[in-house]
């Protein structure tokens, strides 16, 4: 076999590797799409519950049918998967047990039953708990079927078929699933039968768990059902994009995980090449995507939020400095020292002063800061807004003059030009005098 692609850090990839990558991406995309529903219903742990609970379904189907045929496995897992959903909901509703606790009771008990059944069944079959847990992603291309003259890994073919089923169901029920995910009560009121939709989704998840099992193992299903969806949830606020992003991130985790595992194989300890579980690496890459999104998502990321807060703080600090310097010049024709300006916020003030000086709005002489001509124009605009708002509060809300400053001090930073223009008109009409306008303290309102 010839190398198809060569990548840095990973080395040469053969068509064998590409099949594994395709399989892993397919699992990632499938679980990613279905996981969005669980995430929005706040039932993320149901993926964990189902993927454990179907174990007795698998073992039972094997014990009854005597074959490891996929159809039997799907049937057994589907039945037990839906039963898990029914029991969980039933315990929650009838016995008034919290939903997470009832889920915990149901799936652990079923899992224990499954382990026990397997230990009976395992005499003559390779239903090995280890295999169920980790899967054998690396070896999927070894088992092939011939479809249309092409030799395709069996796992890839079944996953492809599962993808078609999931896509068809999700397309047909798109509107219903969306509504049930966001507002089951409204869905019920509209006659959409949310319980039925819910169990359709549970059955799909159980089915995908089973077809994914052999290739990637249960733990990977659990991770891929929640992490890509949560990552996508950090990146968008729209449902259609959530689905697409989650599928993409899931696929990228699958592919990236396998590449990471290949990269680990290039490590050497004492001359021996290392290796690792590809399924585990897929989880790790998925977690990496999540952490990246949690930190750097433009809208919901921790760092982006910190940056926005810092930027706002700096702007407020700059505007406050301009206002203070303007008033000092107006009242006493003097400048202010850094200490006068600092007030409460230390670092922000220092940085804001540096920025203002760099923009040529303020200058420093004899340890005192003063506005430049340009700075005076900017500051008068800002102080004007402040005094307009004060006048407005006094005239329209009837606040006494000594109560308007504090309220204005907060609002002044958030008044856009259009609002300022309206305020100016309003104050002009209420004062009815020839210019100039004055604020409730009797000071002149500067600015255009």
């Amino acid at each position: 076999m010839n190398a198809v692609i060569s990548l840095p850090l990973v080395g040469e990839l053969y068509s064998y590797d590409l099949w594994v990558i395709a399989t892993a991406s397919l699992v990632g995309a499938l679980c990613g799409v279905l996981g969005c529903y669980l995430l929005l219903r706040r039932l993320s742990m149901l993926g964990d519950a189902i993927s454990h609970a179907i174990l007795p379904g698998l073992a039972g189907a094997f014990l009854l049918s005597g074959s490891r045929d996929l159809a039997w496995m799907l049937l057994g897992a589907g039945v037990v998967g839906v039963l898990t959903g029914v029991f969980t909901a039933g315990l929650h509703r009838v016995a008034k047990i919290a939903e997470d606790a009832s889920m915990g009771v149901v799936f652990t008990t079923l899992f224990a039953l499954g382990v026990l059944l397997i230990s009976f069944a395992a005499r003559n079959v390779d239903l090995d708990p280890g295999c169920v847990l980790y899967g054998l992603l690396e070896f999927t291309p070894l088992d092939t079927v011939v479809i249309g003259g092409m030799s395709i890994p069996r796992a890839t073919a079944t996953l492809g078929a599962a993808a078609v089923v999931v896509l068809v169901v999700l397309t047909i029920l798109h509107k219903e699933i969306k509504l049930v995910a966001f507002d089951p009560a409204l869905a019920a009121a509209l006659g959409l039968r949310p319980t039925l939709i819910h169990f359709v989704m549970v059955a799909l998840i159980a089915g995908v768990s089973v077809v994914s099992f052999e290739s990637v193992g249960s733990i990977l299903v659990v991770a891929l059902l929640v992490t890509p969806a949560a990552t996508a949830h950090l990146l968008t606020d729209r449902y259609a994009r959530l689905l697409a992003l989650s599928a993409g991130i899931g696929a990228a985790s699958g592919a990236g995980g396998y590449l990471l595992a290949k990269h680990v194989e290039t490590w050497k300890v004492d001359g021996t090449a290392l290796g690792t579980s590809a399924a585990g690496c897929v989880c790790v890459v998925g977690a990496f995507f999540f952490v990246a999104a949690a930190l750097a998502s433009p809208r919901h990321g921790v760092l982006s939020r910190l940056y926005r807060q810092a930027a706002l703080r700096l702007r407020i600090s700059r505007e406050d400095i301009l206002g203070m310097l303007y008033r000092a010049a107006e009242l006493r024709d003097t400048g202010l020292s850094t200490r006068d300006l600092r007030g409460g916020g230390g670092n922000a003030t220092t940085l804001a002063l540096a920025m203002l000086r760099q923009r040529g709005l303020i200058t420093r002489a004899d340890g005192l800061w003063r506005l430049t001509t340009e700075g005076h124009a900017t500051a008068s605009q800002f102080v004007g807004t402040h005094r307009l708002w004060e006048s407005y509060l006094a005239a329209r809300l009837g606040l006494p003059p000594d109560h308007v400053h504090q309220a204005t001090h907060r609002a002044e930073h958030f008044i856009p030009p259009a609002v300022r223009e309206k305020l100016a008109q309003d104050v002009r009409s209420s004062q009815r005098s020839e210019s100039p306008l004055t604020d409730p303290h009797g000071r002149q309102i500067p600015g255009p």
């Binding site: 742990m45 964990d48 997470d100 652990t108 008990t109 395992a122 005499r123 659990v222 949690a294």
Partner: protein
Amino acid sequence: MNELLRLITLQDANTRLVLLGTGVLGLAAGVIGALAVLRRRALVGDALAHAALPGVCVSFLVFRERSLPLFLLGALVFGVLGVLTMNAIRRFTRIKEDAAIAIILGSFFGLGIALSGIIQRLPSGNRSGLDGFLFGKAAGMVRDDVTLIALASAAALLGVAALYKEFKLLGFDRAFAGSLGWRVALLDFILMSLLAIVTVVGLPAVGVVLMAALLIIPGVTARFWTDRLAPHLVLAGIFGMLAGLIGAGLSAVLPAPQSALSRGFPTGPLIVLVAGTLFVASLLFAPGRGLIARWSTARSLQRRIHDEHLLRDLYELQESASFKAGSVPAPSIGQIAAHRAWRMVPLRNAIARANALGYVTQTRGTLALTASGREKSLRIIRSHRLWELYLHEHAGIAPDHVDRDADLIEHFVTPELLAKFESQLALGDADPIRTGAAMGVPLSLHPPGASAEEAPR
């Protein structure tokens, strides 16, 4: 039989150890788990058990030594790390609690599997007994394991005893605890750390998933038996201990399945299945909260309601008939059924019960109230009509709207309440519509079988 005897008399030293270990573990896991369930963190134990795996691997990679205490130390570190990450996700991102738990579970466990994959391929590798952490091997417990379990359990239980009041408030009303100035986040973290300690020592015994079961199931089971926290915790401990003892005992007694994988009957699953059986038994049979008890309460209430409806129907039919004909005919069963749209089975059952109690006499398909039946029916009809009058006069509800409401309430009006109604409605005056015919029973606001004009005014 011989084996059972050996088990019960605890002759086998190994069995004794295993029973001690699983029993103590079940006790501690039950108590801590009950608190976690109360705090709505039931599945955190599951996530914790999974999150501990990379700790075991890292510990092996760092110390290159197969020592249980070092493994457990690594597991504990990663378990606590998992809890902290979970809290950070919840606090600093828009991701909700359930997803945070699942993310930690999947990611940490995946990392653990990747690391254990590396360890396996190391020259010195072969998974270093890591599989035991996944599935547990209670039957292979040695003295040191049991000592460790006992120490960790004692520490966890002492922690619960010391912070009982705090955990109690934390579980029931977190916001109130915060308003008292308690460091709620810190208390939460302590509770989760205690959970982590118990989980980690339990891993080698029962494995990852089944440890989660031991934490959740006893706490939920105990909830069926009591409404008070202290008995709840004690019961959860007892249920956990029973599950551990019986499960381990069964695994020692039952013949091993002839399997290539396991040498004995797997202990962990048996413990969980015993816990599950205790749960199902409590779900069904617990007094008060159990399904059967609740079902029988609902059933006897339903019967009483049917009985009272039958007596009221008879009174009302006689009343309306006497307006017309001046006599008191006995209504037929068909007439009764039509009067309230009865379904036949409950009606026949109610008639049979009334007959047995001597409230009615049945002659050729017609029913008549006996003296005692009439007396009893008067009580019910008074309750119904006084409530109607009360609604009408004090709540301003129209006469044709009060009947359904009174239908629901009449069965629950106590004699004290009736007396109150009577005094408030001042039934002593001579208004005929209010004092009515017999024994202080007011006439109906909407007499059956009579239109508004015919009503006795």
